[in-house]
Symmetry: C2
Subunit: 425 residues, 2 copies
């Protein structure tokens, strides 16, 4: 058991209200939240007592859209338009990837997640076996997202992944998904609709990331991607859509009706000039929100603090309204919203019985002072330097700038450099 | 003497080209850059040898627009429109500030600058004496910017500040400036024109931050702020303008003609919904660029990494062009551009004889790997966690997350909280 004492608790169970008390963890779970009695303290044996000294303990961030192994393409081809970047730079390099590459490149991403207070990601990529291997070795949590594209023959692969990966490890789950409308045949999309009926399960996909994607879909099918997916039954059990930059009013109404999560990726959408998602409108319509970094090739970093600031800053700018998208909504999306979008309902808040997926925010840094509003400080001036500790499923994987993932980070950096060098040759 | 060895040098003397070699500092200056001979090494006695182990040594960032002491209003009144925020929240609280408050609140800002790799700022605020006191005690470098507003009677004060603060300390200088057109009387602006003639010196001011400011200036004077300043001789010796969001073509031509620096503050402009500065257009016209965080009440943080990403990301978004404003331009603005905008011509690059105002970037962090492009990594995925060391005028003020500013940071945090608490009462 681990005892966190003398801290401030931001449980995210009641807006951004902060309470006093302790948090105890036992195995992978939170076993106590509140003010313990003398009796309780006397009767409990702790493996470790962490004095928070006024620092904040809160739910960890959940990265609701990413392609972890794309770390190898960080700063490899910046400053290009999305379609050009994707087809002339990304896809040819991805074709050279091996399973061993994905294993190491994913470990690199996991280090970066942990340093940013992220304990789980919704990962869409190839070779899930190798990613799972890297992931479970590090002690990180992942929800794998189906990444099929092309023709209907790939539906069978998705079906078998659902069976193979759900239940494989307590830190791993798998959800139905496909890459995007623009990389899928009509037959694949119809097959997705059939799978949804079979599993009665939500589906996740890239959706309306660029204006071009939506325009071409309307030209091809007479429907927006969201309308098309809905017409094929793909959204019957909800799910989540990544990016959501170019949604119509009708698209948003479909989201609301189907209980869909909008996963916003403002870092990637800015860097690739894709546009600004209508976050305030989505919130007005009651559509739940989550935040994703997208992959490190497009963002280029995996930093939830940068994403949080961008979510609100870009709304303020695009709506010409400094009051738009207040900090509390952003913090909720980065924690609770992300967990729910990924189906991690037991990793969402700080409460007894929940998974111990949590972070400690170091307030004793200049960017967190003074303490006019801790939640606003986290969203508007927070940075990775404020992550004092990251715990996933009760294990401390990052503390005081050091990683505990069973591997020397320098070895991971060396392998990542070797991999990209070998591909350039 | 301090010897930095085994590093990569990003001198910013030739774009973002990285060279190999060593950097030595002697007193406040850089005394050697390059590959030393055995003879040189044998004949030189070092006080300290720092093994960079492959990390990058580069010029420090220069924060070309800020109001340091406004740390007390961080997260105090977020999510409000600029004019409302300024007149109902900021000005009433500022009226309560004492010199002692400014001393402590400035020290808080200086800690944050150092943690972000910033060694100098262009500070516009009241009570320069108290700021200078805080500043020189910490060993930080500042160019004070005249902050007069109101009527012509304040010109005399500005004149006396020019005499009082220039030459007061090697780390301090003072430049002509006034708050903004919208807080100045016509007489004050005319007085500024006279002072410029007297000193033959550049002038700095807020300029075209909001559409309202420009509209009302045109209504009042029949000229944009830039046109008005130019017509009064205020720009005769150049200078710098802060924000530059709503510039006309003619304004930009005046900037080019007068050799004016545009200081962009994208964090503040986003958070206050002021708009996006036309950075690419300014660059096209050959107008030199610098970057400022603005004050911590509006931003809310003093983080040059966040600003750098925003400079390029917002151009890409607003121009719908992922190729807009490449990383090299941004890095130049954050270092060389900032130094020149503030008149710190000897603090701009890593070269023999220059001031030793430099930083070490820790590449052994996941967000800096792999090393496809170090400059792009710094701009697109860098964060304050990558600041391994910050040196100002040859003194190491921040290293491995610890401050050396002659004061316990916790005492500074405590005082900042006491100050804002006393003001609320």
């Amino acid at each position: 058991m681990i005892r966190f004492k003398n801290g401030r608790i931001l449980p995210m169970t009641n807006g951004c209200e902060i309470t006093e008390g302790e948090v105890w963890t036992n195995g992978s779970k939170i076993s106590f939240v509140g003010k313990p009695t003398e009796e309780q303290l006397k009767n409990t044996k702790f493996d470790r007592v962490i004095d928070l000294d006024g620092d904040v303990i809160m739910p960890s961030f959940k990265n609701a859209h990413t392609h972890s192994a794309m770390t190898f393409l960080r700063s490899y081809a910046d400053d290009l338009p999305l379609q050009n970047w994707l087809y002339t730079k990304v896809f040819p390099m991805e074709a050279k990837l091996t399973g061993d590459h994905i294993y190491w490149l994913s470990k690199l991403a996991i280090l970066e997640y942990l340093s940013s207070g992220v304990t789980a990601c919704f990962d869409m990529y190839f070779n899930p076996e190798d990613y799972v291997h890297a992931n479970t070795e590090c002690g990180f949590r992942t929800v794998l997202c189906g990444s099929v594209s092309g023709g209907a023959e790939n539906i069978e692969r998705l079906d078998s992944c659902m069976k193979q990966f759900n239940g494989i490890h307590p830190l791993i789950s798998y959800r139905l998904g496909f890459h995007a409308e623009y990389t899928a045949s009509r037959e694949l999309l119809e097959g997705m609709g059939e799978l949804v009926k079979k599993y009665k399960a939500p589906v996740s996909t890239h959706n309306s990331e660029t204006a071009k994607e939506v325009r071409e879909c309307v030209e091809k099918y007479g429907k927006t991607p969201t309308e098309l997916f809905d017409s094929l039954g793909i959204l019957d059990y909800g799910g989540s859509s990544f990016h959501c930059v170019h949604l119509s009013e009708n698209d948003m109404d479909i989201f609301a009706k189907r209980g869909m999560y909008a996963v916003t990726c403002p870092g990637s959408n800015s860097k690739l000039a894709s546009g600004i998602a209508p976050i305030c409108k989505l919130l007005e319509k009651g559509i739940p929100l989550a935040i994703g970094t997208d992959g490190p090739a497009s963002n280029n970093c995996l930093d939830m603090f940068r994403e949080m600031f961008l979510v609100t800053a870009l709304q303020k700018l695009s709506l010409n309204d400094a009051a738009a998208c207040p900090a509390g909504e952003v913090l909720k999306a980065a924690t609770v919203g992300g967990a729910h979008a990924m189906g991690l309902d037991d990793c969402d808040v700080i409460a007894e019985g929940k998974q111990a997926d949590l972070i400690v925010i170091d307030l004793k840094q200049p960017n967190m002072q003074p303490l006019n509003s801790i939640a606003n400080n986290i969203v508007y001036s927070g940075s990775k330097t404020n992550i004092r500790l990251t715990m996933c499923a009760g294990s401390i994987l990052y503390e005081n700038h050091c990683f505990s993932v069973g591997e020397d980070p320098k070895r991971i950096y060396a392998r990542a450099n070797e991999i990209i060098s070998s591909m350039r040759d």
